[in-house]
Amino acid sequence: MSEADGFQEDTVSVTERLAAESLIVDVDGFEGPLDLLLMLSRTQKVDLRRISVLQLAEQYLQFVNQAKTLRIELAADYLVMAAWLAFLKSRLLLPPDPTEEGPSGEELAAHLAFQLERLQAMREAAARLMARDQKGRDFFVRGLPEDVTRLRSVSYTATLLDLMQAYARIRTRDEFRPYAMDRDHVFTMEQALDRMRGLIGYAGDWTDLSAYLPEGWTADPGRRRSATAATFAASLELAKQGRIELRQAETFAPIAIRRRTQ
């Protein structure tokens, strides 16, 4: 309400000054060209719907000219509006050119009138809104709100599976060994290399690679697989070092190795 009052006072004082000095150049008092146009329109003392846009355009252009003579720098949007209003004025004054495209002067004028009316309506709506009863000024909320207390209760859950796994874990603790430590069935490449380095001295002729598998690693398929892979990898390493030669008759055929003779 107070804001609205203040605003009303503002407009009244500006209008009064306008009347007194016929025109004042006080651009700071306006919020842009539309605001200024709305202010100027008040001097016509008619319903905004029946406003003479032509007259308004002339008032505005006069305002801008006066500002120029007073060497007051106008913001660009005021000048843009001036240019547009000059264009509108010419359209309104000249007979319509049927060959010309685009909206007529009347249409443009009607839109400007609509914009002014809408701005005015929003200002009045704002004033009415602020004049309403307001919370904390006219009506009040509970002074001592009782907060909702939150009761936090925890519900524990466990599934039958959890229960059984827990029991199994306890009862089999002795059997349990972490997987990473379980290297029983792994023959490493290092082991294979060590073994082959000691043996290739005797491999003068082509010998099947499988002959180099360590004892005790051939029966169990898992152990055999690991030993084969390690031995093969070791043979590749030795070939790279130039210590042995590799040979394979065809794809998937047995691989043979022999010592390389310098």
């Binding site: 919020e31 704002a126 307001q134 009506f139």
Partner: protein, 214 residues
């Protein structure tokens, strides 16, 4: 066994309406902020009908020093506005809003959901960042859905806090809304030929009719 049944029954049978009214009264009374019907329902015993209890309660407080008021889809208790003069002690000094902020708020309220470009078109000037920030901070406006136009601009709508502050049941109850709409002043009328004053959107804000439709 019978005891269990009796207890279960009471768990699922709603209390009498008079009792429900007391419950709604207590909950609304205790809260400074509006409480939604859904929230009331969640807090009251199973099977309660807070909407009906509210009708009774509202009637009971008619003409009293405290009123039951509707705020959007929520309800609250507020002192009667005519007794505001007794409350100097409780009055909260609100920061004075600038004219730009008040106008921007009104434009958002009457045109929501409303983009910044639309606010600027109506006011004829750029909206300063501080203006919108201030309204957001007051929690009187919030972001609405983005407009499905090029650039997908954000929109602003008013909040429950706005309705609460200005004692409005809904945005439909904004003063003079009907007249403004009847006069076509809430239409988004683009500039003929699309010349001059910023009209980047060029598309009617369909949201508004949505929001205000009853």
């Amino acid at each position: 066994m019978t005891e269990t049944i009796a207890r279960e029954k009471s768990l699922f049978e709603a209390p009498p309406m008079a009792e429900q009214e007391r419950m709604v009264e207590a909950i609304l009374f205790a809260s400074a902020d509006p409480v939604t019907v859904a929230e009331l329902e969640a807090r009251m015993p199973h099977g309660s009908d807070p909407a009906e209890a509210l009708v009774h309660l509202r009637k009971r407080y008619e003409g009293r020093g405290v009123h039951v008021v509707r705020v959007g889809d929520a309800w609250a208790m507020r002192t009667a506005p005519d007794l505001g003069f007794l409350m100097q002690k409780e009055t909260v000094e609100t920061r004075k809003l600038s004219r730009a902020a008040i106008e921007t708020l009104a434009i958002i309220a009457y045109h929501q959901p409303c983009t910044r470009a639309e606010i600027e078109e109506i006011r004829g000037v750029a909206v300063s960042r501080g203006t919108v920030d201030q309204l957001l901070e007051l929690e009187w406006i919030r972001f609405g859905r983005r407009r499905m136009t090029p650039g997908r601009p954000v929109t602003y709508v008013v909040t429950q806090g706005f309705l609460d502050h200005f004692g409005l049941e809904s945005a439909r109850d904004l003063p003079g809304l009907k007249e403004l709409r009847a006069a076509g002043l809430l239409d988004n009328r683009p500039m003929p030929g699309g010349a001059l004053p910023a009209d980047e959107e060029g598309e009617a804000p369909e949201g508004q009719s949505e929001l205000f439709e009853d």
